[in-house]
């Protein structure tokens, strides 16, 4: 692989990220809600009267001076983001945005990665089996089932699971990442509690995506089964199981792999819905809360993280694809 190619790809990533930060900054500032005015009036009502004191406070917390023109604020924001400083939360001024993300991100990573990996394996396996049984009765009904499953939006799926499994049947908790009565740490009750709380969000993600994986793999398998090299392998007397794995599966999974890496990035966006429905303390739920509060340092920070996740996953998919497919090796 040429380093020039990698550098070019990283340059594109940085340029995209910069554009996204700019657009997000403008969009957030266009919102009619003025959290600074709210903050200033709060502080004023608490007895800090002097405007210069207020301005100093604002600068300390937010890295910017509210009275300055917006383009100055924009450049100041860009510089501080490059320094890794996303500012403080407006609602919880004692916390930095980086702190908030650091406590929230692991929960999101946990459910997003777990669900994507499980869904990918189930879908790929089922898809290949269905591809082999194409045209049969089993194939028809299962394809219909997965198509329906695939058509249900992720928030609809989340609400269905929440209503039936949690509210009606009471089988699993409906909110939070773990119970209040367990001590966080590497102990069994805590781990069990975490798993119990994550089953519904993870299932929601799985149900929302497994149909796509299955249908995709089924289509790829059918297409590869029609390839001459599969017939040629059969004619060489290569056993069926070996053909299914090394000839059919190996080639049918190539497009799936690219989708897999990219989908991990996009699942961060889906996390906004799912975490909100299950009040799960990840960055998605934090984003919704922050939008409600007009806490835009946090909105900006989380948006940048989500976009960066998508961009990095696309980059990883591009750079790793060549290890799987010799045809694109340079």
């Amino acid at each position: 692989m040429k380093y020039g190619y990698i550098l070019r790809r990283i340059a594109i990533l940085v340029a995209t990220l910069y554009t996204v930060i700019t657009i997000t900054f403008i969009l957030v500032r266009l919102s009619p809600y003025d959290p600074y005015a709210y903050f200033l009036s709060q502080e004023a009502s608490m007895g800090i009267a002097s405007p210069s004191q207020l301005a100093a406070l604002a600068e300390y917390y937010y890295n910017l001076i509210p009275n300055q023109p917006i383009y100055i604020q924009y450049f100041q924001y860009l510089i501080s983001v490059m320094e890794g400083n996303f500012g403080h939360s407006l609602i919880y001024p004692q916390m930095t945005v980086a702190n908030i993300i650091a406590t929230r991100l692991p929960w999101t990573l946990y459910i997003v990665i777990t669900s994507t990996v499980i869904s990918f394996f189930i879908g790929t396996y089922a898809g290949q089996r269905l591809g082999y049984k194409r045209g049969g009765k089993v194939d028809g009904s299962i394809v219909t089932f997965f198509t329906v499953l695939h058509s249900i939006p992720i928030y609809g799926m989340g609400l269905i699971l929440l209503f039936f499994i949690s509210l009606k049947a009471g089988l699993l908790p409906s909110a939070g990442a773990y119970s209040a009565n367990v001590a966080p740490g590497p102990n069994l009750p805590f781990i069990i509690s975490v798993i119990r709380h994550s089953i519904l969000p993870i299932s929601t993600f799985i149900f929302g995506s497994v149909g796509g994986w299955t249908l995709g793999m089924r289509a790829n398998t059918i297409s590869v089964l029609g390839e001459d090299y599969v017939n040629a392998a059969e004619l060489r007397g290569i056993p069926t199981s070996r053909i299914a794995s090394r000839y059919v599966g190996r080639n049918a999974i190539l497009p799936q792999f690219t989708s897999l890496v990219i989908s991990i990035g996009f699942a961060f966006g889906g996390a906004v819905f799912v975490e909100q429905i299950f009040t799960y303390p990840g960055i998605g739920q934090m984003l919704v809360t922050s939008v409600g509060d007009g806490d835009y340092p946090v909105i900006m920070g989380i948006t940048i993280i989500i976009i960066a996740a998508v961009l990095i996953s696309v980059l990883v998919a591009d750079l790793t694809y060549q290890f799987l497919d010799p045809r694109v090796r340079k």
Binding site: R236, R242, R250, N251, R327
Partner: protein, 327 residues
């Protein structure tokens, strides 16, 4: 004694939406040890279907209705179960398929193709496999150092063809079937492949079935020829005998259609008409409607495939007269 393969009365049907069609009609032929049999026919005459039925490898909607394919030392291939056929494939009979440009797994290098193929038949010694691969690739005039680690997309069409020929020889099968091995190649590569096959045939004594629509390729290469028309065997015999004293009007017409380098272009004539509609039921001889010797009996009765001279078979009601008068 010398008989290697004897195919009798093989019939293959394809079930389609418009009805059943017959791709191969009760074809019989045989291959002796050391033979190169050329199978000639127009596109759609059932050449490939016949070749794959010899391997008992007809996929639905196709079906082998009847017949037997007896291979020396194995028995009737059409009576074997799937797993037994798998064991015979490549060890006893190998085929280089028509679509060689796509016959290799794009995510496997050449070396892995050799390893996979030999492992499938119980040879797991990597060292031995590589020795075999090296030797055979050199045999087909390829550089093993470069080719073994190459992926299919890095090889040219002619190279892929030669890799597949090398791959077909790993177990030195008794019979090698080549399905239009030169059709996708330019004349230079065609020549290269033909010379290569000839050398391999002499060196290894392997028997070959060579399928082509190019009747001229047969003349200098094969010692026997089988002529197919609309799925029916029209004539089978020694190449020179068939060329000089054909017994079948279709063969005569076919030979007349070959332009020669020096001859008068006007003496070349095509065969008027076209092959019969596969969906139409044929009662008589399938060639009757295009045959200038046709008599009423030809439209009523399908001629049997009979031996008129030793080793020279033909399916025509008038083969005897033609044999007496041709020339």
């Amino acid at each position: 004694m010398n008989l290697l393969l004897s195919v009798e009365g093989v019939r293959v049907n394809y079930r389609t939406e418009r009805g059943e069609i017959t791709a191969v009609r009760n074809v019989s032929f045989y291959v002796d040890k050391g033979d190169i049999l050329g199978i000639v026919g127009e596109s759609g005459s059932g050449k490939s279907t016949l070749a794959y039925s010899v391997l008992n490898y007809i996929k639905p909607p196709g079906k082998i209705i009847s017949g037997s394919v007896k291979l020396e030392g194995v028995g009737d291939l059409l009576k074997l179960g799937k797993e037994d056929v798998r064991k015979v494939l490549w060890k006893e009979i190998a085929i280089v398929p028509q679509a060689t440009q796509n016959s290799m797994n794009p995510t496997m290098d050449v070396k892995d193709h050799f390893i996979d193929t030999m492992a499938a038949h119980g040879q797991n010694d990597k060292q031995k496999i590589l020795e075999t691969a090296n030797r055979l690739l050199e045999e087909v005039k390829l550089d093993p150092q470069i080719v073994l680690s190459a992926y299919p997309h890095q090889l040219s069409g002619g190279m892929k063809q030669r890799v597949l020929i090398a791959l077909s020889l790993v177990f030195e099968p008794k019979l090698l079937i080549l399905d239009e091995p030169t059709s996708a190649l330019d004349v230079v590569n065609q020549r290269l492949i033909m010379d290569l096959l000839k050398a391999l045939h002499q060196k290894m004594g392997i028997s070959i079935i060579f399928i082509t629509h190019d009747i001229q390729l047969i003349k200098g290469f094969a010692n026997k020829v089988l002529i197919l028309y609309a799925g029916k065997a029209m004539e089978l015999g020694d190449v020179n005998e068939v060329w000089n004293t054909p017994l079948n009007p279709y063969t005569i017409a076919l030979l007349k259609s070959i332009p020669t380098l020096h001859g008068d272009v006007n003496s070349v004539s095509g065969i008027p008409g076209s092959m019969p509609d596969p969906y139409a039921e044929i009662t008589g001889c399938p060639f009757a409607s295009r045959c200038k010797f046709a008599k009423p009996v030809c439209f009523e009765k399908d001629p049997d495939f009979l031996e008129y001279k030793p080793g020279h078979f033909s399916a025509c009601h008038f083969s005897k007269d033609i044999g007496d008068n041709y020339g």
